[in-house]
Subunit: 218 residues, 2 copies
Amino acid sequence: MSAEAKDRLEQIYETLLRRICLLEYAPRTRLSEAQIAAEFDLSRTPIRRVLARLEDAGLLDSQHGAGTFVTDVPLGEMARTYALRCELAGLVGRLSPVAITAAHRREMQGFEDRAAALLATPDARRFAELNMDFFRFGVSLTGNEALREMSLRLYYQTARIWLTSITRLDLAAESEIFAREIAQIGEAIRLGDTQAAATIRQAHISLCVTRLRQFSQE
Amino acid sequence: MSAEAKDRLEQIYETLLRRICLLEYAPRTRLSEAQIAAEFDLSRTPIRRVLARLEDAGLLDSQHGAGTFVTDVPLGEMARTYALRCELAGLVGRLSPVAITAAHRREMQGFEDRAAALLATPDARRFAELNMDFFRFGVSLTGNEALREMSLRLYYQTARIWLTSITRLDLAAESEIFAREIAQIGEAIRLGDTQAAATIRQAHISLCVTRLRQFSQE
DNA sequence: GCGGCCTCAGTTGTGCACAACTTTGCAGCA
DNA sequence: TGCTGCAAAGTTGTGCACAACTGAGGCCGC
């Protein structure tokens, strides 16, 4: 079956996506197709298929003869994109919210534990990872596949905005705010109130962009 | 400059996209990379780049050794996807609506003319084209780039649902309904009320999915 | 000293041959 | 007659060589 080959490419896509979104590949970095191909022990051809996807997702920019560059964080569109993310976060609770199961509660407990660990010893990288994984969890609370897809797509486009700012903001303070958000949503999940969870998420995204704006105005 | 080469691929993408969305390539049709490459006088390699995009957009499905097939209309997810489209249509009027200009009014007049012509002699193909062009116009009423992109993406995924049903519904009746929608939105545009235009659009998408549901229940 | 040009190394884009795989149809056999 | 196996044709996926292009460094003319 060729499904395993497709899975392999999907896995490489995931890997590179994480590296970009977690700033392992900083914006404006030049990636080499040949180097990536060597790393994953493939030829350039299938790698180019993966890079093309990342380019379509707005995370890479290939320039003939020059190189493949990690896109810069789109600060100009920031406010508008965040506004849309905000709306979508709210829709998660209104369009086909899923019923909370024991698996959800277990997963939620895992996030609360990770948040506690982060609070004990703040670390930008682990912060970013927790943020990404938790966002995916939040998106999984709707049964609307298109909404999940759009939300994730937007998240990948904007995740780096906040992440690049956080190093200049107070990491400890942001960790505390994030831990509080997770605690609040955990409570909603325990009560089985999916819509409340989504609304809290929406509020925090809104607050986050407000903090960012205040920061950039200073 | 390699921009012209990129434009060329973009143009091919547009062409194939239209063919799929306008049912020129019917669902389940098998496309041949070699044949398309021959048509556009390119090798398979850049064509594969284009087909990959269409696959990522959910319009094609490549199977190793078997062929690349036009995806079937996603009837199962229909209700949920349309629900999201509905919400996004409403957001067009609320998130960064653009100010109506003379160009908008001229363009709108063009749509009203085309609608009148369609009403005189109903034709499924021209109906589909008008629908697609008018949707793009509607999307252009927001300054929120992400919202435009998401709306279009969703439109391409669902356009065929309605289009395949319309041949079995009453084409003349649907044309009349569509012409009325265009007239109503035209009035809003003339008055410079972007939000009203978006709201009317939203209502009509909702009505459309209701008609579809009634039809499938019969 | 400085500006323009050119060469060269390095990168992405394209074409082509072959590998991997699926489907179809036919031949052979029970 | 029906079924199984196989071969062949056709398709997408991969690897590789080369074309197209960019940017940097050095060289030459002034």
